[in-house]
Symmetry: C2
């Protein structure tokens, strides 16, 4: 008995990641209660993103300019960081510790999901290695598929005249030893360094 418009809106919201019927209802009620301050600006922002934002043909990131701001930024270092998702790219940008460019795979090699190299734009990555790029950094998840993809890329890029590196693995900053899994502990131990 919510009326068809509200019911449809709650249904669509409830299927967004991290939301369910309860949180969707709460959001919809807030939007309806604050139309001017929340609902209208949200519609306008969704519309603008829908109209203007597209996938960068060079790196696979998202931006309203093509190629994206990062690919177009001449001040970026001649490095390419390979990430699985745009979310991973954003995390690196937020950390502000990397000043190179990116290649967003949009997935990982997976026999189960049926993703082959052609789905990840790897030819596009290879085409970018025109001699100006010094290093390709693999920032892929420490999962079976992530490591298989890193392994594939390492072999594939071996003859491209770039050095291929991976992110270090070990104890995360602020991480308690007690809660770490065996795999991380084994890695952190075998890759230990001189203290001080």
């Amino acid at each position: 008995m919510m009326g068809p418009e509200i019911e449809r809106l709650v249904g669509l919201m409830a299927r967004l990641p991290g939301l369910g019927p309860r949180s969707a209802r709460r959001i919809v009620l807030r939007l309806m209660a604050e139309r001017e301050q929340r609902l209208l600006p949200l519609i306008a922002a969704l519309d603008a993103a829908c109209q203007r934002v597209a996938v960068c043909p060079t790196c696979g990131g998202l931006d309203s300019q093509q190629p994206c701001m990062i690919c177009a930024d001449a001040a970026r270092e001649p490095l390419i960081c390979v990430v699985e998702t745009v979310a991973d790219q954003w995390a690196l940008e937020r950390a502000a510790v990397y000043r190179g460019r990116y290649h967003v795979l949009g997935g990982l090699l997976s026999a189960i999901a049926g993703h082959g190299p052609e789905d990840l734009g790897i030819d596009r990555l290879v085409a970018r290695l025109d001699g100006s790029v010094r290093e390709v950094i693999l920032a892929l998840p420490a999962t079976v598929d992530g490591q298989a993809t890193a392994h594939y890329l390492t072999e594939r890029l071996a003859t491209c005249g770039v050095s291929v590196t991976r992110l270090a693995q070990g104890v995360p900053v602020g991480g308690s030893i007690e809660i770490l899994d065996e795999g991380t502990l084994a890695l952190a131990l075998s890759a230990r360094r001189a203290a001080g």
Copy 2:
């Protein structure tokens, strides 16, 4: 480095109830990745809700028809259930245990928040008690403001020729005794009934 459109959209999403920057980014990326299936339908549904849904002038609920479907439904019993929010109304409708109409206060009497009886449409509620309404059921939260509002309404409606009732209080269905607060236990004990 997300581009201004995406940044604005994430910012607006992150201020919705229950969301934050991380969940907003996740939702926005999913919307951008599935434009046809998710983003366009969501924009259309928000737009439809914004254009068509309004507050029912009779009960304070939300619907695209005025008065709302519930107020207009001649098969509803001559009862009015007073709730704080539209969310409370929806919860009662979902439970499908009540077949009367509603009065949505849109808040509670609160000296701190500065809400008086005129903010809660109580004159509008009194005006609806034209002799056809048999009973007003107060379904207000068991908080200080909720109980103060229930007390005010009980006094105000005493001379209106309707019986005024409140929801029963006690142990919720599926509720473990162990985790109940003292107040609920005291109420449940003093209102105990013959077993079987």
